[in-house]
């Protein structure tokens, strides 16, 4: 790469041609404040609309200030990053943004984790000279996400996630001038839009404009109700991220401390969604092998590739965007819902608690799981299989409000039977993990042989679309993986065109998989955090005594005692679902 000579604040240096002033300054250890700019480097996502104008700098020979996030360096460029003119401009712009922002920081969901708050603090704003009218928009409550767009600062990060990364096209700028704001078309509610509730908008929102629906109070009330038995399941990605909320290094596994905290919060039984993940593999893997063998026998009615169905945002996505293909995904319910069903049948029976007295809480890295839990098909006589789904962030709040810290808690283990899990269940939390878990089981079931090596490196990584061919003892199985719904769309279009050569495809809505979920601790633009969580997940897998779902003794027992065998009639009734055409269900109110 060619180099150019520039100077920053009087210090001459050489930087790569084509780089931006912002990056050149950062490499010199000078942090120029930004609000709208966001780069998720490991996920190849860059958002630089040049809209907030906080990152302006002085460039010699230029009349006005230059936005450093979008201004590229040139030979001989002389940049000044903190002259009085620059500081005054930044402070004035910040005051303007704050002048149209509610002053309820102390009671805001983002208090303490708000980028706007931090930037105001860094810039030393102590007074707002420009007071005036403030925007007022209606709040929007969906099953998963709350939009309080009076707090929107038009950074448009959510728009990039929703449109460019996820290709859902739900959020975009509407209205003009002072009224301009990001919202679904015609300022409709999210619930009337094709929103998948993936929560990636929430994950990148610098303010409290986009937050999750908070169910912690409902959980606290259930825990305090003596009539209720409250059990909890924790998704694999939670343990790899929860520690961050308590100041631990990203990628610190806190499985044992989390279990211990949940017990102290008063949950009667602390279980693991990984158990249900193993169960999912039994069902989904069997379904895959079933479809595959029929296909190999020449049955034209068989639809391949089979698509995973663990991710509720992904399910919502194809129901809205590809309803004509709704018979392609596996009919297996997601681990959260399998857990709920088994808890409210098998477990309820085992511990002698009536369905209506059993409360199932899930802790998820995900906001879409809130929506999934309240889907009608996952209820029996109005009683949901999973009563409340809370995010990793909500669990952290619960712990902070009730027992304080996590760090000093002892490590404890999950309860049995539904706390028993394998390494295969754990890796559900990262992109490629579900299909790797499926391969571990499907291979052995299909070939009748033991796998020589359990780590399928070829299925791992962070490229948006990946593919690998796994040799099933002479039978090559083509596997596709996509994370991020935009990437998923590419694979679906391929199938639609009849060009897909895959037998099975794993799709996760969130970039990075569940470790990068919309309910996880905020990464504030540092995507290396997501990678560290993924590494932690693989580490937990490695440390597990059993790493193949079909070897989980409690799963084997569950089939023996209750379900019969995978895809049995009972299993089909309890553990499988069907999908709906939602293309026409989004509507515009006139």
């Amino acid at each position: 790469m060619a180099k150019v000579n520039i100077s920053i604040d009087g210090r001459p240096l050489q930087v790569e041609a084509g780089t931006t002033v912002l990056k050149a300054a950062r490499d010199q250890g000078i942090t120029i404040p930004t609000l709208c700019y966001m780069e998720l480097e490991d996920l190849c996502i860059e958002h630089n609309p040049g809209g907030c104008r906080l990152c302006t700098v002085e460039v010699e020979g230029r009349n006005n200030l230059a936005p450093s996030c979008v201004t590229k360096v040139w030979e001989g460029m002389s940049i000044k990053t903190h002259t009085p003119r620059v500081i005054n401009a930044r402070k004035t712009v910040m005051e303007l943004i704050l002048s149209d922002h509610p002053f309820d920081c102390l009671i805001c969901a983002k208090n303490g984790t708000c980028d706007l708050q931090k930037m105001a603090q860094d810039l030393g704003i102590r007074e707002i000279h420009y007071k005036g009218e403030q925007s007022t928009y209606k709040e929007d409550y969906s099953p998963s996400i709350i939009r309080d767009i009076n707090k929107c600062i038009m950074c448009r990060r959510c728009e990039t996630m929703c449109n460019d990364v996820q290709t859902c096209g739900v959020l975009s700028g509407i209205y003009r001038g002072f009224e301009a704001v990001v919202a679904p078309a015609y300022e409709q509610d999210l619930e009337k839009s094709p929103c998948t509730y993936c929560g990636q908008c929430v994950a990148v929102c610098p303010t409290g404009a986009l937050t999750e629906v908070d169910h912690t109070n409902k959980v606290v009330r259930a825990l305090a109700d003596p009539k209720k038995t409250v059990v909890v399941q924790t998704a694999p990605a939670v343990r790899a991220a929860l520690g961050e909320e308590f100041g631990m290094e990203p990628g610190t596994l806190v499985t044992g401390k989390m279990v211990s905290a949940l017990r102290r919060l008063g949950f009667d039984q602390v279980f693991d969604t990984d158990f249900a993940a193993d169960l999912t593999i039994m069902e989904e893997g069997t379904e895959l092998l079933g479809r595959l063998s029929k296909f190999l026998k020449g049955d034209k009615s068989v639809k391949l590739p089979i698509l995973t169905s663990c991710c509720p945002a992904w399910v919502q996505f194809f129901e809205h965007n590809f309803p004509e293909m709704k018979d392609i995904p596996s009919t297996a319910k997601s681990p959260q819902q399998m857990f709920g069903t088994i808890a409210k049948t098998y477990l309820a029976d085992k511990i002698q608690v009536k369905r209506e007295d059993l409360v199932v809480v899930s802790v998820m890295p995900c906001l879409s799981k809130k929506y999934e839990a309240q889907r009608d098909e996952f209820k029996v006589d109005g009683n949901p299989d999973v009563d409340y789904s809370i995010s990793t962030r909500e669990l952290a709040h619960l712990i902070k409000q009730s027992i304080g810290d996590l760090k000093n808690l002892p490590d404890e283990d999950f309860d049995r039977p539904m706390g028993e899990s394998t390494g295969a269940g754990v890796i559900f939390g990262v992109t490629g993990g579900v299909i790797e878990a499926a391969v571990r089981t499907a291979y052995e079931v299909h070939t009748g042989k033991d796998l020589p090596k359990l780590d399928f490196e070829e299925l791992r990584g962070f490229d948006g679309v990946r593919s690998a061919t796994i040799d099933f003892d002479g039978l090559p199985i083509n596997i596709g993986i996509a994370h991020g719904l935009g990437n998923a769309r590419k694979l679906l279009e391929e199938i639609k065109r009849g060009e897909s050569h895959y037998h099975a495809i794993e799709i996760m809505a969130c970039p990075g998989g569940c470790v990068g979920g919309g309910g996880q601790p905020l990464h504030h633009g540092d995507s290396s955090i997501i990678k560290k969580r993924a590494a932690a997940i693989y580490e937990e897998d490695k440390g597990k005594a059993i790493r193949k779902s079909h070897m989980n003794p409690e799963i084997i027992k569950l089939y023996e005692d209750f379900l019969g065998e995978p895809m049995s009639e009972k299993a089909h009734h309890l553990l499988h679902t069907s999908y709906f055409d939602k293309k026409k269900s989004t509507f515009i109110e006139s």
């Binding site: 809209g51 401009a89 004035t92 420009y130 005036g132 009218e133």
Partner: protein, 597 residues
């Protein structure tokens, strides 16, 4: 073809049509029919003559009689007297305000004397819906010349030599812009005509498209030929139905004649033009916003670079020019760069069209050589200030321009001079203000427009302009403080310094220029709570003269807010804190005891 003895030209511009020029046209045709003269006298609907103040205009050729303020009822007299008997209808002639003499030929009128019409050359002369008339005025000759005799580089060289600068406001050299687009290799390139004329009061682009659409189509084809584009797009606001209709007719005719479409004039060069409609957002006049709007995206600008010449419509090299810029192109190519350069100033060659508006006698559309002074435009062409009032200021460059005063009147108008005195050319809006105009209110008026028209993408423009507007409102309501004036200045400078596109970078200009030219007026509003121009209602004070008041109580009874008190037969008093300045007492008082401060 019939050999007509006379032609009657009727202005068919939007302004004159609004004053029933279509009915004049119909009446003329009917009357001629009745008189059996249809084969001898031709009636033509033309584009705008520019002298909108005196519209509807009817012109009789070949004797060049210029009738003003014609009504449909005047038609019979025009036919009977002028056409049949050969006697001019004096009462319909323009009256020279200086000596009350009738002037028949427009070239002797003050309004036209100093004008030089290049971009508007055919407006008011030809029927815009008839390509033959355009061809008779040399339309498509330049295209033929270029395709046959010139290489694309040669065309660009002429454009560069001519010194033609973008007439949309930026003033960027058009030839250079073409060269950039030409140099970026691509399988597909585009030529875009920016007809999103958004300045309030400006209508030069509309008039050109309504009066001479072929000049723009020809120029676009020339631009396509020289930049290597075979596709042209005209982005026009949907509020211009007449321009759209005439463009459609012109495009169809040009295609039929082989001036557009495949293998133009047998040269092998293809060029197609499509219309794209805008919803009328001011910001969509900014070229990147315009392009996004055409792409179906939200109409908001993106940071340049990359410039459209590199990555424009659908990420392909795109050259965007404004209507007036294009309208100059064919003539330049026919008459040469040297000819064009001989007109205007050293760094701004050619002419510029201005829309004269405000407190000026001759409201209308004018075209003058660059270098003409503001004084010549306002007092000679514009005929001076209405009702004999005193000139106070002129706002050039539309809502983002600046306010110039008496001391700037002798400034020769060109791109650089206007910027040097704190204003800008813009697209050529020129609004004249007299002594009754309050400069703070004026700044507020323009800010109201920019607040409305900001796209909202960048914070300083989205929120800053709103706060500027609020501060100005506070001042015009007499609630401003000296600190507010400091805030106003700082905020204006920061908005200019930090905004993303030209809209925000110039929107505080009316504030800054009035602050520097009319600082006393700001001080007056803030410290004396007074508006000398009498425009700020909140600062008016109704006062009862105790000497003149007889205590009749009529004012107290009519006051809707009970602000007036006093004993019967004793002088009354108005409580200024309660008074809402409704004027009711003033109107009621029979003794002239109430005055307004």
């Amino acid at each position: 073809m019939a050999n007509y003895k006379m032609h009657i030209l009727v202005c068919g511009g939007t302004g004159c049509r609004a004053s029933q020029s279509e009915m004049i046209l119909d009446n003329l045709k009917t009357e001629l029919e009745t008189k059996g003269l249809s084969d001898e006298i031709q009636v033509i609907q033309t584009g705008c003559f520019g002298f909108c103040e005196k519209g509807p205009i009817v012109k009789i050729m070949p004797d060049n009689t210029f009738y003003v303020e014609v009504t449909p009822e005047d038609v019979k007299e025009i036919i009977d007297e002028h056409i049949i008997k050969g006697r001019r209808v004096n009462r319909l002639l323009y009256v020279n305000p200086d000596n009350q003499e009738h002037i028949a030929d427009s070239k002797h009128m003050g309004f036209y004397k100093k004008q030089l019409r290049i971009a508007l050359r055919n407006c008011g002369f030809i029927d815009p819906e008839n390509i033959d008339e355009a061809i008779a005025k040399d339309a498509y000759q330049a295209l033929g010349k270029a395709l046959v005799e010139m290489s694309p580089d040669q065309v660009i060289a002429v454009m560069k030599d001519s010194g033609l600068r973008g007439r949309g406001g930026g003033g960027f050299p058009a030839g250079l812009k073409w060269e950039f687009a030409a140099k970026n290799a691509s399988d597909q390139k585009y030529v875009v005509c920016n007809a999103d004329e958004g300045d309030p009061g400006a209508f030069m682009d509309r008039s050109i498209l309504e009066g001479d659409p072929h000049s723009v189509l020809e120029a676009m084809a020339l631009c396509g030929y020289s930049t290597g584009a075979n596709k042209g797009l005209i982005y026009i606001r949907a509020e211009y139905p007449l321009a759209i209709e005439r463009l459609k007719i012109a495009m169809k005719q040009a295609e039929e004649y082989g001036f557009l479409g495949k293998d133009i004039l047998g040269s092998g060069f293809d060029f197609e033009i499509e219309l794209r409609y805008g919803a009328g957002a001011f910001v969509c006049g900014e070229e990147t916003a315009l392009i996004h709007s055409m792409e179906g995206e939200r109409g908001e600008p993106t940071v340049k670079p990359p410039f459209p010449a590199e990555s424009g419509y659908l990420k392909k090299p795109t050259n965007v020019n404004n209507v007036e810029t294009f309208a100059n192109v064919p003539v330049i190519l026919l008459k040469g760069a040297e000819w064009y350069k001989s007109i205007g100033t050293e760094k701004s060659s050619g002419t510029k069209v201005f829309a004269l508006a405000g407190k000026i006698n001759n409201v209308g559309l004018i075209e003058v050589p660059m270098g003409t002074t503001l004084r010549e435009v306002i007092f000679e062409i514009g005929g001076g200030i209405k009702d004999g009032k005193k000139f106070k200021a002129v706002q050039t460059g539309g809502p983002s321009g600046g306010c110039l005063t008496e001391k700037h009147l002798d400034t020769p108008i060109d791109f650089d001079n206007l910027i040097a005195v704190g204003s800008m050319m813009g697209s050529g809006g020129m609004i004249v203000m007299d002594e009754d105009d309050c400069m703070v209110s004026m700044a507020k008026f323009y800010l109201e427009f920019t607040v409305e028209e900001s796209c909202g993408k960048c914070s300083p423009c989205r929120i800053g302009n709103k706060r500027l507007y609020e501060l100005l409102t506070k001042i015009t309501e007499g609630k401003g403080t000296m600190e507010d004036l400091d805030l106003l200045r700082n905020l204006s400078e920061v908005i200019k310094d930090t905004s993303l596109c030209g809209l925000g970078q110039t929107s505080p200009n009316p504030v800054l220029s009035t602050m520097s030219n009319f600082w006393d007026e700001y001080i007056e509003h803030v410290t004396d709570k007074k508006c000398s121009a009498g425009q700020c209602a909140a600062l008016k004070q109704y006062i009862i003269d105790p000497e003149a008041c007889v205590g009749c109580t009529a004012c107290a009874r009519v006051c809707p807010v009970n602000a007036i008190s006093g004993e019967r037969k004793m002088p009354h008093e108005i409580n200024q804190d309660i008074c809402i300045k409704c004027n009711a007492c003033f109107e009621k008082c029979k003794f002239n005891a109430i005055s307004i401060n």
